[in-house]
């Protein structure tokens, strides 16, 4: 089986991450219940005629993918695989609102056309003229990992050489209002620095697009090797350790081989226990980092964690804003990412220095 490498990255998040020369040098703090992505000047990347029908999620995805393709020195790609939990939710909201407001009359086509979940992957393909495999996974908070898994299998089996993989989700006003109502979004504004000590239910929601060129051709500019990814729709807390051990064993590793744990804690008092089992358990003496205080929680927030892992392995640097404990690995060779949302859709991802 071929090895798979992260050859390039492109990120748009609630931090200024669209410049690949920076690595969280300047942190934007928030005190809110929902945080928005910091957007680049889209006109630098998308012709105005093409951009005028694109909602924020599409623009974020198209630009993040352009940044990744440019860094990989590629103008075309064998496949485009995206993951999204909610798809183009703003246009969906717009379309459904128009149905209700106009009594099912006078429906305009644009928001309907752009509201489908695979719009981002489609627009990327249209933009670069890619007629290859184009697939979008809509699997809640393992959407990105599902896309990643597909790409890994294709690259390991040499069915493709370069694949663009990404996770994208935009924030929708009405959707957020519902999440607030059912307390999936925290009732109170929380400062980024205090997210994990809020002691309240719910999360601070966010949005973003994180794209990567994965390849079985290692380049001198490659970020990391992707060793493995595994997902679980349901996982009872007592099973977590056994499943983790088995996952590491399949990759001929143990907990002691992990240099950095990237944990998906979002400060939800009801569900952070899963993470605490790892951070206070087998990884107690391992360097730990977290990121959802910077990115916010969304279905593909774990793609931001993946971006973080790739950056850490390439730069061998861990910005102070993401440290969860005081341990510092001398050399960072292996990184484990663990994510879950509301006790469901768990994922383990393993990255290795290359």
């Amino acid at each position: 089986m071929e090895k798979v490498y992260i050859n390039s990255i492109g990120s748009i998040s609630a931090q200024k991450t669209f410049d690949n020369n920076d690595f969280l040098e300047e942190i934007t703090p928030y005190e809110d219940t929902v945080i928005s992505a910091i957007e680049p000047n889209y006109k630098d990347f998308i012709p105005p005629a093409a951009a005028r029908r694109m909602a924020k999620g599409i623009k974020m995805g198209v630009v993040a993918s352009k940044i990744a393709l440019e860094e990989a020195h590629l103008t075309d790609i064998d496949a485009i695989i995206t993951g999204t939990g909610m798809g183009c939710v703003r246009d969906s909201e717009k379309f459904v609102t128009a149905i209700l407001d106009n009594n099912e009359q006078f429906l305009t086509p644009t928001s309907f056309i752009q509201s489908t979940h695979n719009t981002v992957a489609g627009q990327i393909a249209l933009g670069i003229g890619c007629k290859g495999y184009n697939f979008t996974y809509v699997h809640s908070s393992i959407s990105f990992e599902s896309a990643l898994m597909d790409a890994l299998m294709q690259l390991e089996c040499r069915e493709a050489e370069n694949i663009l993989v990404g996770g994208v989700d935009e924030s929708g006003e009405h959707t957020n209002a519902i999440h607030k109502l059912i307390k999936h979004i925290k009732p109170e504004k929380v400062h980024s620095n205090k997210l994990l000590h809020s002691n309240t239910v719910g999360a601070v929601f966010g949005e973003g697009a994180n794209f990567f060129v994965l390849s079985n051709n290692k380049q001198e500019f490659s970020y990391a090797q992707v060793l493995d990814v595994k997902t679980y729709n349901t996982l009872a807390k007592p099973e977590l350790m056994a499943v983790l051990k088995a996952f590491l064993k399949e990759n001929e590793l143990s907990e002691a081989d992990i240099d950095v744990l990237i944990s998906g804690n979002n400060g939800d008092i009801d569900y952070d226990d899963y993470y605490l089992d790892l951070t206070n358990g087998p990884f107690k003496n391992t360097q730990q980092v977290y990121y959802k205080h910077l990115s916010g929680e969304f279905n593909t927030a774990s793609a931001f964690g993946f971006w973080l892992g790739a950056k850490i392995l390439k730069t061998q640097h861990t910005p102070s804003a993401i440290t969860l404990n005081t341990f510092r690995a001398n050399k960072i060779e292996s990184i484990l990412l663990y994510n879950q949302y509301r006790g469901k859709n768990h994922s383990f991802t393993l990255l290795r220095r290359c």
Partner: protein, 85 residues
């Protein structure tokens, strides 16, 4: 009539997300499609819905749109003659 033309320009910019175009940049006789504003078939559908919703004009034959949407001048004239709202 000039108020209607102004109104149409505003609506076209807003509803078709032509955020880079100012009202003053659209001349009354500029072609809306092709070399002029560069609108396309999806925009034509948006304009058909706009005529129905805002002016009570139902276009039964989509081919009619080609003539009606030639320019702001032609569109305003057609709306003024056929509007029910």
């Amino acid at each position: 009539m000039s108020d209607l033309k102004q109104e149409l320009k505003e609506k076209i910019i807003t509803q078709l997300n032509l955020e880079d175009i100012a009202i003053e940049e659209i001349a009354d006789n500029d072609p809306l499609f092709g070399d002029g504003l560069g609108l396309d078939s999806i925009d034509a559908l948006e304009l058909i819905v706009m005529l129905d919703k805002d002016y009570g004009i139902k276009l039964t034959d989509p081919k009619e749109g080609k003539k009606i949407f030639e320019s702001i001048e032609v569109m305003a004239k057609y709306i003024a003659e056929h509007r029910t709202k």
